[in-house]
Amino acid sequence: MHGRVKVKTTAQQEEEKKKEREKKLKVYVAARDACFSKRKDGVLDDEALQLTQQLLSANPDFATLWNYRREILTHLETVKDEDEAQKIYEAELSFLESCLKVNPKSYGSWHHRGWVSARLPRPDWARELSLCDRCLSLDDRNFHCWDYRRMVVKMSGVPVKQELEFTDRLIGSNFSNYSSWHYRSTLLPLLHPGSPEPPPSRCGGDPPHSCSPPSPQAHFHRVCEEQLLKEYELVQNAFFTDPNDQSAWFYYRWLLGRAEREEVISCAYVSREQERVAVAFSRPVNAQSGGLLLVLDGQPQRAEWRSVHPHFKHSPVWICDLPPGTISDVANEHNLTVHWTEKHTHRDCALYTGRSESWCRDTATDLELFRSELSVEKTSVLQSELQSVNQLQELEPLNKWCLLTIILLMRALDPLGYEKETLAHFQTLKEVDSVRSAYYSDLCSKFMIENTILKMEYAEVRVFSISDRNLTTLCHLDQLLLVTHINLSSNQLRRLPPQFAMLQCLEVVEADNNSIENLEGVYHLPKLEEVSLKNNKISTLADLQPLASCPKLRRLDLRGNPVTQTANVESELAELLPSVADLLL
């Protein structure tokens, strides 16, 4: 249903139009019925061609009629010689051109044209390309036409280089040409493939043999460096010329981008007291159906792995319990290996005598986790890009694409070093692009969490503290497997989500002065002893239910929560949380 602009008419004009429409309708219905009865009787003649032509001119979306027409044409092909067939199909192409003039976005028409072009004895691909050029000059975003052009290019074997030059011309004449940039993104990796790297794989699902193929656009890094540098220049020209057009910025982001990381076990943790092994992956996996093997002191274990919360079939963190007595004696040394057979990767962990717990991990720094939005090919390249975009930012201080790109580049180069500038840019961004200010707040929260993780790792402590930062959501909780103390006070959190259950080593939670009403994630945390939730929005006893699953919980501060006003709250809580000796209401 295409937008039709309102036009005022007089009553008389309305009446005349009505009569005209009634006449048309009669003719249409008669023709349609004639068509159907012919088709039903299996008649495939010239008259049928004419009838369908009449109808399709009025309604090119009547798919059944195109099918009938294809049957007629296929039949005629068998009874006419090649020259006659050529003529018939050429006439068909002319007919289609007139249909497309009426509605250049009709699926039926384009689909049929594709069919005809493929069957033409002597196709004229140059003519087809010229049709596309004309169509695109009227509407360069007509994706039907672009799709058709891609088909023509494929069928006629137009070299990729030529098509790339075609995009050069289009972009050269008008940088604001999103569809052209898109087309270019599909051509570039074909013409200038980058160095072969292991294909980014996505397997993690149930049957290991049925891996989803990488998306074609996962070939982020598959453009060779020399060409990449030329492309940077082209794109910079574009966004310097028109910084407000997003086409070039999206393309630039893609050029700077990088493929998915390998799927590895980033951390293995073992606790004598809980007799439990916890494993963190670099991305969510499904380890329930097998694939994750535990070997203890050379002996494979019959381990049953579960995700930290029943909500998750796919989770970065998996845990399993060892039979009682297996590792509880602190006098014994143990060696564990966790194998992830899906990806032929493993991690070892040694539990020494006298130690109650042990772990082995890649830090976020090791993995360059938070830089991985962008390619880390050469810091010098990124530095030079940052310089360019900074220059533009001086000329265009209110341009949001500029600000976003600078933030991106800064985080790729030095997240902690550029923290202050990044926060300042986010402030500006929220002002110049206020429609998305909530999203930017959330994005900024995420970056602040990342920085806190990095700082924590540099300090080599297990305390995660991020208070008074206007945090609205939590993320990267899979990086906090080893954290013992967490302070989230004075933020704007509304819940501790199920992912919070990944904090398997947590002993103390401080989350005062938020808006927390949901504690789903405080679930089966084996070491959790203290929880402080002063001045939140916990309103019912049911909200506190998850806490009952934490066996060691002894101190709970609920002051300033609506739930404290519930009748008999003390006795109810005593029943719900018997281990809590220290209850503050």
Binding site: M1, V5, K6, K313
Partner: protein, 367 residues
């Protein structure tokens, strides 16, 4: 125009004119203007827009449910005596082929009669909205008809005769399987492969591989994966974040479907619902979204248009309402973002499915 009239227009523009929209959909159900003749073959989908629209408005009482249900069932391709046409199963768009009216079997074999995947989808939704228990849906035929539409690459045709094939029909297929609680009608893994293959360099989905990113196709991709329960399996957290970013950038005032295109009412749902499924809809700007949608409201005849000062049509009227429902417009029912029916209709579906499971469990000799 006089000053007072302008002020009056402005005042009316902020108001949501519920009753006009109810009447708009009522008229849609009775008679459509001639310019809709080209949509004859997809008539059932227009019925869906009207019924679901009235459902969102909580005004289904104006509909004669019994009559509607009978008409919908009359579009079902019924198996012939010898069941030779099972792989043509599904629902037609309308009676335009000329099959004689019938809601009971056996069916009549006609060489060009078949279901259409989008009509089967909207037909089933419409039945649910009207409170039907789907007991007269021939599931065997529907699923058989669906199976033959899937290509090697995982995408679907709309009809067994052949048509264009792309991600839209994967969405229809996934919805059908979801509603019937039976995924034997499609190869899920192949569909996921096709969906992943449609992910474009700028982190949204095209109609197929190598094709341009678009809000509508992105909805089809994400909603399908959600219905299949495979969202986190098919897309990595980073990919999901990038998709969220592309979608969030579609809001100008309302939403557009592609960069550098004008905003259009229907994308308040297509992109809005995608953001809702990806858990970030709360970061959009509700006020600007609402203002735009209401600027396309037709104050005289009701309904919404794609742009201001354009004629309203059932599709934009329905999706405009859904867009408003997403931002919590008072007195509008909540919409299930993946299935695109009200939560009320969805709960009805859940109850039905529970009944089917209970019955299957209690059947002696099953399994």
């Amino acid at each position: 125009m006089a000053e007072e009239e302008n002020q009056f227009e402005e005042f009316e523009q902020i108001d949501f004119l519920r009753d006009r929209h109810v009447r708009f959909f009522q008229r849609t159900l009775q008679v459509l203007p001639e310019r809709y003749a080209s949509l004859e073959t997809t008539r059932l989908s227009i019925l869906f827009f009207a019924l679901s629209g009235l459902d969102v408005l909580d005004a289904l009482e104006v509909v004669d449910s019994k009559v509607m249900i009978e008409w919908i069932y009359s579009q079902q391709v019924l198996p012939t005596q010898d069941k030779s046409n099972l792989n043509r199963g599904g629902f037609r768009g309308s009676a335009h082929i000329g099959i004689p009216y019938s809601t009971k079997g056996p069916g009549v074999l006609h060489p060009y009669d078949s279901g259409h995947v989008a009509m089967t989808y909207t037909g089933l939704c419409s039945l649910l909205i009207l409170g039907d228990d789907l007991s007269r849906v021939n599931k065997e035929a529907v699923l058989a008809g669906l199976k033959v539409l899937q290509l090697e690459d995982g995408s679907f045709y709309a009809v067994p005769e052949g048509s264009e094939n792309d991600i839209r029909f994967i969405y229809c297929a996934a919805s059908i399987c979801y509603m019937l609680d039976d995924w034997s009608g499609m190869d899920i893994q192949k569909a996921i492969d096709y969906i992943r293959g449609s992910l474009s360099y700028d982190n949204a989905f095209g109609q197929g591989a190598g094709r341009e990113s678009h809000g509508g196709w992105t909805y089809c991709a994400i909603a399908s994966l959600c219905l299949m329960g495979r969202l986190d399996e098919a897309l990595s957290p980073r990919e999901l974040n990038r998709i969220r970013r592309w979608c969030i950038m579609r809001q100008q005032s309302g939403f557009h479907g592609r960069p550098n295109k004008p905003v259009d009412t229907c994308y308040s749902f297509w992109v809005g619902a995608t953001l809702e499924l990806l858990d970030v809809f709360q970061f959009t700007h509700f006020e600007k979204n609402r203002s735009f949608i209401l600027s396309t409201q037709d104050r005289l005849v009701g309904g919404f248009a794609k742009w201001p000062d354009s004629h309203p049509d059932p599709l934009h009227a329905y999706l405009g309402l859904c867009g408003l429902s997403l931002i919590g417009e008072p007195d509008l029912k909540k919409v299930h973002p993946a299935l695109n029916i009200t939560q009320r209709a969805f709960q009805h579906l859940q109850q039905l499915q529970q009944t089917w499971r209970d019955n299957a469990g209690s059947c002696v000799g099953q399994q």
